[in-house]
C-alpha cells in the first residue's frame, strides 16, 4: 500500500506542514515536552555534575545524594576543596522550597530570572516543573481515554446489537455530566486524590467522544467491499476487526488524541486552579495562577503560567485542527 495516498498519516503530515502555523505549533509543543522531560537540568537546587570533597556526582539533581544536602552554590564556592567543580542547572532553585525574598519581579535578580512568588519560590522552577505535571497528566490521560474509547467504540460498531445499545446509553449518560464538575467532585471525595485518580476520572469521562468517532468509522468501513471480501474468505471477526477495520479508524483517533492533549491540559489546570487537581506538593500552572490572586500587583505570577496554558492549548488545537482537515476530506 502506498503511504502517500490522501487520508494517510504521511500525506496528512505533508499537508499540515504546508500550513503557516503548524510548524511553529509543533515546535512549541516539542520544546515544552523537552522542558518537561529535562526539568531537573533546567532548575534544581543540586548540580548536574560535580566533584565535591573528592567524590564525583553525576546528575545529582536526579539521584539526590546525601553528601550534597544543604549545599547551595554559595556554600559550594566557599567550602570547595582543590579540584572541586560543579556544573549547575540554569536556575539553582528547586520548585518546592523557598529560595529567595518573596514576590521579586522578573529580571530583578540574577538568581531568579522570572522572579519569585509569594512564598519566595522561584517562578522559573515552578513553571518548568508545572510543565512536567501538565504533560504527564495529559499524556497519561489521553492514552487512557483514547484506548478505552477506541476499544469500546470499535466493539460497539462492529458487533452492534445489545453491546451497541449499552455503549450508546453509557455515552449518552456520561455526556450529560460536565467533566470539570464530576472530576472535581471525585477528586474532592476520593481518599488519596492524586495523579492516578485524576487520570482515571478523566479517562472514565472523556472516552465517549473517541468511542463515537471510532464507532462511526467502523460502521462505515464494515460494509466496504474489501471487508466483506475478507469475511467471505473466512477471516474470523476479530481478525477482520483488527486487520481490516481498525486501521481505517486511525485518523480520527490521532486527531482526537492531539486535540485531547490540549483539552486535558486545560482541564487539569482548571482543576489545579480550583485546588482540587493534583496535591499541593506538586507544582502546577493552575495552582500558580490561583496563587496570583493573593498578589494583585504581581503581573508575572498571573501572565507567565496563564500564557503557558494558553500557548499549549493554542498549539495543540491548531495542530489538531490542521490534522483533522488534512485527514478528513469531508471536514475541509
Amino acid at each position: 500500500m502506498r503511504m502517500d495516498r490522501p487520508g494517510s498519516l504521511r500525506y496528512a503530515i505533508k499537508i499540515v506542514r504546508a500550513r503557516r502555523w503548524a510548524d511553529a505549533c509543533a515546535l512549541l509543543l516539542a520544546m515544552l515536552a523537552l522542558v518537561a522531560a529535562f526539568a531537573e537540568e533546567l532548575a534544581s537546587s543540586r548540580p548536574i555534575l560535580c566533584k565535591w570533597h573528592g567524590s564525583v556526582h553525576l546528575l545529582a539533581n536526579v539521584t539526590h545524594p546525601h553528601d550534597l544536602d544543604g549545599v547551595t552554590p554559595d556554600r559550594f564556592d566557599k567550602e570547595k576543596s582543590a579540584g572541586d567543580f560543579a556544573v549547575w542547572p540554569l536556575v539553582t532553585c528547586g520548585s518546592r522550597a523557598s529560595c529567595g525574598p518573596a514576590v521579586t519581579p522578573p529580571l530583578a535578580s540574577r538568581a531568579h530570572p522570572l522572579g519569585t512568588d509569594g512564598n519566595g519560590r522561584d517562578v522559573f522552577a515552578r513553571l518548568v516543573y508545572g510543565t512536567r505535571s501538565a504533560f504527564a497528566v495529559a499524556i497519561l490521560a489521553v492514552a487512557a481515554f483514547v484506548g478505552l474509547g477506541a476499544a469500546l467504540g470499535a466493539i460497539a460498531g462492529f458487533f452492534g446489537g445489545s453491546v451497541d445499545f449499552f455503549v450508546a446509553r453509557a455515552v449518552e449518560t456520561l455526556s450529560a455530566f460536565p467533566v470539570p464538575l464530576l472530576a472535581l467532585v471525585v477528586q474532592a471525595l476520593v481518599p488519596h486524590a492524586g495523579v492516578w485518580s485524576l487520570v482515571t476520572v478523566i479517562a472514565a469521562l472523556r472516552w465517549t467522544e473517541v468511542a463515537r468517532l471510532v464507532r462511526a468509522e467502523v460502521l462505515a468501513t464494515a460494509s466496504l467491499d474489501y471487508v466483506v471480501a475478507a469475511r467471505a474468505l473466512g477471516a474470523s471477526p476479530l481478525r477482520v476487526l483488527y486487520k481490516h477495520v481498525l486501521p481505517m479508524t486511525l485518523s480520527p483517533i490521532v486527531v482526537s488524541a492531539v486535540l485531547g492533549l490540549g483539552q486535558i491540559v486545560l482541564l487539569e489546570s482548571a482543576l489545579d486552579f480550583l485546588r482540587v487537581g493534583l496535591p499541593a506538593s506538586i507544582p502546577t500552572w493552575g495552582e500558580m495562577l490561583s496563587e496570583s490572586r493573593e498578589h494583585f500587583g504581581a503581573w508575572w505570577l498571573l501572565l507567565l503560567p496563564g500564557s503557558l496554558v494558553f500557548g499549549s492549548v493554542i498549539a495543540t488545537n491548531a495542530l489538531g485542527e490542521a490534522l483533522r482537515d488534512a485527514l478528513d476530506p469531508r471536514a475541509a
Binding site: A156, A168, E172, P178, L181, V185, A188, F310, V313
Partner: protein, 520 residues
C-alpha cells in the same frame, strides 16, 4: 409528532437511570466507617446497651447495613426472628446480640416465636424465653414471678400466647387504636401496650391520618415511643407545628424500621430485593427531595439549592442568550464572506477565543478590575467570561451550517430571481441554518455549568459553583452529589427539549425517528 415525542421521552429513561447510577457511585467514593467486629459489639452491649443501639442506628441511617445494588435476602421481622432464635439455640458468640435484637423486635416477633417455642430444645427454649423478659417488662408484666425466673419463663410465654393470641391480629389492634383515639383511658392505652411492637403498623397508619386531632397524635406517639424505644418529644401543649414535627419524625423512622416489625409478603419481598439496597434508599431520597443536609451549616441541601441555583441559572442563561446573539451574525458574515479577509480575521479571532482558558481570562479581568469592586461589576464580568467561552464554538458551528445551506439550490434560485442579498441570507438561508445551532444549546449546557464553577469562584458570586467549592473544602459529600445530579438532569432535560424542538422544526428528523443522540 406525538409518536416521535413519546419515543424520544422513552429513550431518555435509560439515560436518567444511568445518571442516577453515576451520581450514586460518587457517593460510594466516600470512605465509610469500618464495621465493628462481633466481639467488640457484644462487649459494648454488655457495657451500655444504649451505645450499642446508637451504633446500629448510625450505620442504618447511612444504609451501611445494606448491600449496594441487590439485596438477595431482605430483612424483615421473620428473618430477624429466625436468625436470633438460631443464635440463641446454638448459644454462640452472637447469642448476646441476638437476645438484645429479639427483645427489640418484641411483640411483632411473637407470631413467629411463641407458637413454635415448644419445639425448641429445653435449654434453647429457656434462653429464648429469658431473652424476651425485657418485652414482658414493656408490656407491664415485669413483676410476674414466672416471667422473671428462667425456668418458668417458657411456660409463661406459652401461656400468654394461648390466652392472648387473638389480640395479636391486625383488626384487633386497629380497634384498640380507634378506641384510644376516641378517648384515652389507662385501660385503652394498656391494651395497645400489651401487644407491644405488634401495634406499631396500626399506630403508624393512624399517625399518617391527617384527620387525627392534636391530642390523638400525642397519644399515638407516646404509645409508639414506649413500645419501640424511639424517643419523640411530645410537648405538654400540643400545637399544629408540634404535631407536624411528630408526624414527620415517625414517618421517617418507620420508613427505615418498618421491616423490623412487619413480615414481607412475596410481592413486597421482590420489591425489597431492589429497594432495600443502598442505591434504592438513595434513589428514594432523591425522588422525595431528601438528599441529606449540608455538612457545613446543617441546612437541607434542597433549600440551599433553591437559594443558589437561580444565580447560576441566570449566569448560564444570560451568557447563552448573549453568545447566540453574537455568534449567529458572526457565523453568517464569515460564511457569506467565505475565504475573504473578514472571514480569516474572524476565524483567527475565534480560534484564539476557543483556546483561551476561561479561568485565565476570568483571572485577567479580575486583576484588571482590582480586588475591591461592586457585585454588579463582578456579575457583568462573569457573564462576559462565560459568553466568550461559549461564543467560539457556536460561531464556528453556525458558519459551517450556513455554508452548507448557502450551497443549496433553493438559495441559488432565490438569488437568480433577484431577491435582495440580505433577504436571501436572513429569510432563506438563516432560517434553515440556525436550527442545528439552536439545538447545540443542549450540548452547551454541561460546558457552561463547568465554566460557571470557575467564574463564580473567581468573581465570588454565590451560585452553585461557589457553593460547590465551599463544599469541596469541607468534604461535604451531600452537596457535591446533589450538584452533580441536578446539573446532569438539567442537561438531559434540555437535550430532550431541544430534540423535540428539532423534530418539530425538521420533519426528516422525525422520520429517522430517534437515533441515540450520543451516537449519530
Amino acid at each position: 409528532m406525538l409518536r416521535y415525542t413519546i419515543r424520544r421521552i422513552l429513550w431518555a429513561f435509560p439515560t436518567i437511570f444511568g445518571i442516577s447510577v453515576v451520581a450514586f457511585l460518587v457517593t460510594t467514593l466516600i470512605p465509610e466507617p469500618p464495621a465493628r467486629p462481633v466481639s467488640e459489639l457484644t462487649e459494648a452491649l454488655a457495657r451500655d446497651p444504649a451505645s450499642y443501639d446508637a451504633y446500629i442506628e448510625s450505620r442504618r441511617a447511612l444504609a451501611l447495613d445494606l448491600p449496594t445494588f441487590v439485596n438477595e435476602s431482605p430483612r424483615d421481622v421473620r428473618t430477624v426472628v429466625t436468625e436470633c432464635v438460631a443464635h440463641l439455640a446454638k448459644n454462640d458468640d452472637q447469642a448476646r446480640i441476638a437476645a438484645h435484637e429479639l427483645a427489640k423486635a418484641g411483640g411483632a416477633a411473637f407470631p413467629f416465636i411463641l407458637p413454635t417455642l415448644d419445639r425448641l430444645e429445653p435449654e434453647a427454649r429457656k434462653r429464648v424465653a429469658a431473652a424476651l423478659y425485657p418485652v414482658a417488662e414493656r408490656m407491664g408484666q415485669g413483676n410476674d414471678a414466672r416471667a422473671r425466673s428462667a425456668d418458668s419463663a417458657p411456660t409463661f410465654w406459652v401461656q400468654l400466647w394461648e390466652d392472648r393470641s387473638l389480640e395479636f391480629t391486625g383488626p384487633a389492634v386497629r380497634r384498640s387504636v380507634q378506641r384510644l383515639l376516641r378517648g384515652a383511658t389507662a385501660g385503652r392505652e394498656r391494651d395497645l401496650i400489651e401487644v407491644d411492637t405488634f401495634a406499631l403498623p396500626e399506630l403508624m397508619f393512624a399517625l399518617r391520618d391527617k384527620t387525627v386531632n392534636l391530642d390523638g397524635v400525642a397519644r399515638l406517639s407516646q404509645v409508639a415511643s414506649h413500645v419501640s424505644g424511639h424517643a419523640v418529644v411530645v410537648p405538654l401543649e400540643m400545637t399544629p407545628e408540634a404535631a407536624r414535627r411528630i408526624r414527620t419524625d415517625w414517618i421517617g423512622w418507620w420508613s427505615t424500621h418498618k421491616q423490623d416489625y412487619v413480615a414481607l409478603d412475596a410481592g413486597e419481598r421482590i420489591f425489597a430485593t431492589l429497594a432495600e439496597t443502598r442505591y434504592g434508599r438513595w434513589l428514594l431520597g432523591a425522588f422525595t427531595g431528601e438528599l441529606g443536609t449540608t455538612a457545613r451549616d446543617g441546612e437541607p441541601t434542597s433549600q440551599k439549592l433553591a437559594e443558589c441555583a437561580p444565580v447560576t441559572l441566570a449566569l448560564v442563561l444570560s451568557s447563552m442568550l448573549l453568545s447566540f446573539a453574537i455568534a449567529v451574525p458572526i457565523g453568517v458574515i464569515s460564511a457569506r464572506r467565505r475565504g475573504e479577509r473578514v472571514d480569516h480575521t474572524l476565524a483567527a479571532g475565534l480560534f484564539l477565543l476557543y483556546s483561551l482558558p476561561n479561568f485565565f481570562f476570568a483571572e485577567l479581568l479580575a486583576h484588571a478590575l482590582g480586588p475591591t469592586s461592586s457585585a454588579t461589576a463582578r456579575a457583568i464580568l462573569a457573564v462576559i467570561v462565560m459568553t466568550v467561552a461559549a461564543l467560539a464554538t457556536l460561531s464556528r458551528f453556525q458558519r459551517a451550517s450556513m455554508l452548507d445551506v448557502l450551497q443549496q439550490d433553493y438559495v441559488r434560485t432565490a438569488r437568480a430571481k433577484g431577491v435582495r442579498e440580505a433577504r436571501v441570507l436572513v429569510v432563506h438561508a438563516l432560517r434553515n441554518a440556525i436550527v442545528p445551532t439552536v439545538t447545540l444549546a443542549g450540548l452547551q449546557l454541561p460546558f457552561l455549568f463547568g465554566a460557571a464553577i470557575v467564574v463564580e469562584e473567581v468573581f465570588g458570586l454565590p451560585g452553585m459553583g461557589y457553593e460547590t467549592m465551599r463544599a469541596v473544602e469541607t468534604h461535604d459529600a451531600a452537596w457535591l452529589v446533589v450538584t452533580v445530579l441536578v446539573v446532569a438532569l438539567a442537561t438531559t432535560a434540555t437535550l430532550l427539549a431541544s430534540d423535540i424542538a428539532y423534530g418539530f422544526l425538521d420533519p426528516r428528523i422525525r422520520e429517522r425517528l430517534v437515533r441515540p443522540r450520543g451516537m449519530s
